[in-house]
Amino acid sequence: MPYLDHAATTPMRPEAIEAVTAAMAELGNPSSLHGSGRHARRRVEESREQLAATLGARPSEVVFTGGGTESDNLALKGMFWARRDADPRRRRVIVSAVEHHAVLDAAGWLAAHEGAEITWLEVDDTGLVARAALRDALTDDVALVSVMWANNEVGTVEPVRELAEIAHEYGIPFHTDAVQAVGAVPVDFAASGADALTMTGHKLGGPPGAGALLLRRDATPVPLLHGGGQERDVRSGTVNVPGTVGLAAAAAAAVRDRVDESARLATLRSRLIDGVRAVAPDVIVNGHPDDHLPGIAHLSFPGCEGDSLLMLLDARGIECSTGSACSAGVAQPSHVLIAMGAGADCARSSLRFSLGHTSTEADVDAVVDEIGPVVERARRAGVGTVA
């Protein structure tokens, strides 16, 4: 089964399965004071150190969470509340227009319920946030800035280090959602300058439901979850031991293999794009031509509906995505493509093929073999739902 949807989730790595399985057989709440508790705590702390070393952070900067969405919510809401509490004038949240919904909707919620003002950072037609746009947006009422490290739909990699630097010139904390970036491009928390960084396990071969927010020691967001005071008192709740060990093992393996793997995926991606272009010459490759994730090919097929393409490929056993958010499976035109200046029809006509650590030439060739008739048929079914 050709699976080209690794940006949605990717198979668990053997290292992670082994670590999770071993941990599941062990007893102990890491907060307990007895031997079993100490044992579990040791597992968690080893994982924390391993993850910190993998991502250029200090162990005390790793806050384990339930995944990317939770980390994004904790960063956005928690940092907003903390900044507003310290200075009531600081209620502006600056986010890029191409963020994942976990950031977009958290910001939207703050605007709707907490009196936040949002400044959207526009992107160019490759999905890149302009540095000047951030500089212009930094008024004196800003609570925080959030710009993703790499876009989950089109794969564009943002200039996070420069953006964090600009924010810091004005003393504004900077958060980045690096869910798609870790293991795909070099990610070093300390060198990035970010104050908070979201990452999650299941995008890089770890278990679902385990993620982390890397958080500088001087960043003290207001917690979303109150309780036992675990994780620096920022994220209460019994720590998920199997999840954290799996997360750390997977991240370590992904980062260890990154250089070779990203070269391999880049070759596969070119093979995919060249092959598709040979049978569908009018295909449009979205995203930045150079600064992009090695494994994401986001393609628009003019005159086709992404839904139709996906369904026809699925019927042929090829699994990919339209790349856009789903609610009850209804595809909305991608807010990312619209922010990049595409029309609604173009935004609906796209597919995201995303490659990962188990991808092979055969997966790519299967797409190339099937895409011609699929595009032709989808084009006959047309685009748009209003005649």
Partner: protein, 360 residues
């Protein structure tokens, strides 16, 4: 065959899809998202349009082991069904949105897209029989939906499969339970799916704005009340008129006609609603041809309405049904469907009803 099963999340469409699988078809399930802003949970007996209904449909597809997708037809549904519904009421007619949805959405937008994508037919859970291009009533007279399908053309019917026509609703529910479909005892949906609270009048006044006008008694010619918009009334309606003056004889009065241009609602005694002759436009014949220039048949003048024997006269762009006996409360905008026994002969849209002596 490769077929697309339209799955609302209800019991009928789930069993219809299951039967299509059993018949050996290659079945793909599709839920039609008809609302641009669906509610999370279903409330009351209205609807097929919440996320919960979409999930019910998805669970049924899981149980059947068929692929499942959601198609967003909200924009098309708004244009072809909801806006049409409002425009028809504004013009003093009484539309049937289910019929319009079959005509414009299920067996047009969906069928066309399905055919283009390589499917051979669309399967639905309608209670009606279809064999060799002939549309017939369901064996379950109480659940029969042939009336709202009679507007389909021959080519539309050629792309349709109705697996439930030979079963009663009770049988369908029992079969769903046997198959382990969780929707087996889900309540029937009825009323208008896009008016969540069931308040059609409120929905129309939000869309059209309140427009005060007179209610006039047909006998005396006097103004006997006031209304907030003639669109909120339907011919034959008795309740909710809030008339200020009773009729001289004290007998109840009904809406006899709606005159949208003067924004007038005309009321009068019930017997004036008895129509003996019904004119209906743009006839559509199931076989492609009318059975004759004039013929005897049974006519049905509204969904779940009584059938009446009639002689139908075919003119160039309309038909005139001379009812043997009379029917009360025939509303313009509804369909006149002609039957030979259980077999649908054709349909047309009612434009006028006349109170003439029966049998002419």
């Amino acid at each position: 065959m490769k077929v697309l099963a339209a799955m609302s999340g209800g019991v009928d469409s789930a069993v219809a899809a299951a039967r299509a699988v059993d018949a050996g078809h290659d079945v793909t399930g599709v839920h039609l998202a008809l609302s641009a802003a669906p509610s999370t949970l279903r409330h009351g007996a209205r609807g097929c349009c919440t996320l919960e209904d979409a999930n019910d449909a998805r669970r049924a597809a899981d149980v059947l082991g068929i692929p499942f997708y959601v198609w967003d037809l909200a924009e098309r549904f708004r244009a072809d069904v909801i806006d049409d519904f409002v425009a028809e009421y504004a013009a003093g007619r009484t539309p049937n949105p289910c019929l319009r949805c079959n005509e414009k959405i299920k067996f047009a937008a969906v069928l066309d897209r399905a055919l283009a994508l390589g499917f051979d037919a669309v399967v639905t859970g309608h209670h009606a029989r279809l064999s060799g291009g002939t549309l017939m009533r369901s064996v379950d007279a109480a659940k029969d939906q042939s009336y709202v399908l009679a507007v389909l053309t021959r080519s539309q019917l050629a792309g349709a499969i109705f697996p439930l026509g030979d079963s009663t609703k009770t049988q369908v529910r029992a079969e769903a339970a046997e198959r382990g479909l969780a929707v087996a005892d889900k309540p029937d949906s009825h009323d208008i799916c896009f008016i969540a609270d069931g308040d059609t009048r409120g929905f129309l006044s939000r869309r059209l704005g309140e427009q005060a006008g007179p209610i006039v008694d047909v006998t005396s010619g006097e103004v006997v009340g006031e209304h907030a918009g003639s669109f909120a009334f339907t011919v034959g309606q008795r309740r909710g008129l809030r008339l200020q003056r009773p009729a001289p004889g004290g007998e109840p009065r009904y809406v006899l006609s709606i005159q949208p241009k003067s924004n007038t609602v005309v009321v009068g005694p019930g017997e004036m609603l008895d129509a003996g002759e019904v004119v209906a436009d743009r006839p559509l014949w199931t076989t492609g041809e009318p059975p004759g220039e004039a013929f005897e048949c049974l006519v049905q003048l509204r969904a779940h309405g009584m059938v009446t024997p009639a002689r139908v006269e075919v003119l160039s762009d309309r038909v005139v049904a001379h009812l043997h006996g009379s029917q009360r409360g025939v509303a313009a905008g509804q369909a006149l469907v002609m039957y030979d026994g259980d077999v649908v002969l054709g349909s047309a849209t009612i434009s006028a009803a006349h109170r003439v002596a029966a049998g002419t």
